[in-house]
Subunit: 115 residues, 2 copies
Amino acid sequence: MAGLASTPEPPYHAVIFTSTTTDRTDGYAEAAARMIELAGDVPGFLGVDSARGGDGVGITVSYWESEDAIATWRADAEHTVVRETGRTRWYQEYELRVARVERAYGFTRVRPRPG
Amino acid sequence: MAGLASTPEPPYHAVIFTSTTTDRTDGYAEAAARMIELAGDVPGFLGVDSARGGDGVGITVSYWESEDAIATWRADAEHTVVRETGRTRWYQEYELRVARVERAYGFTRVRPRPG
């Protein structure tokens, strides 16, 4: 079982990327994994959560310390090339939203299985 | 193939809910579907995107016109009961982030399959 991103106290920024893919997804999974690896090297990257369901809808939310960090990631050369492949080949549709996280709270089960 | 939420021009608000579940998920899918149906009746609800991947990480992002709309949804009686069931039974871990969407842009493929 994978875990969830652990982020500091707000405020910080979130990039919410929702997508559906075409049926030509060769190379997509590898590129997605590589992008998460690359993003992790950008100063100000705080974490990422990602899921794609059986109906084809995918959501990736990345968390960032500042708008500058998001801009640095956007300008990354390899990321730029992969975005272009996304538009020409992989994505049927996507929406990218940049948001400021204002408050957050969490829950972690203390015992693995409830009584 | 499911579609993505269609939202107006920012600013608006997003509630980013990430979770992992226990192995006791009886009733969970029905409750999740019912919550999306109920949220849709709240004035100021703008849309929702949801995905859960094979590794168990789930992400639901709902979009709202105002903080008041989020507060109304939070106070809904049926929603409150279901949240409690989530904590006692379904969720291993979750994180809820309330964010203000500041900008957004999208892409829709014109032709179903690229040439």
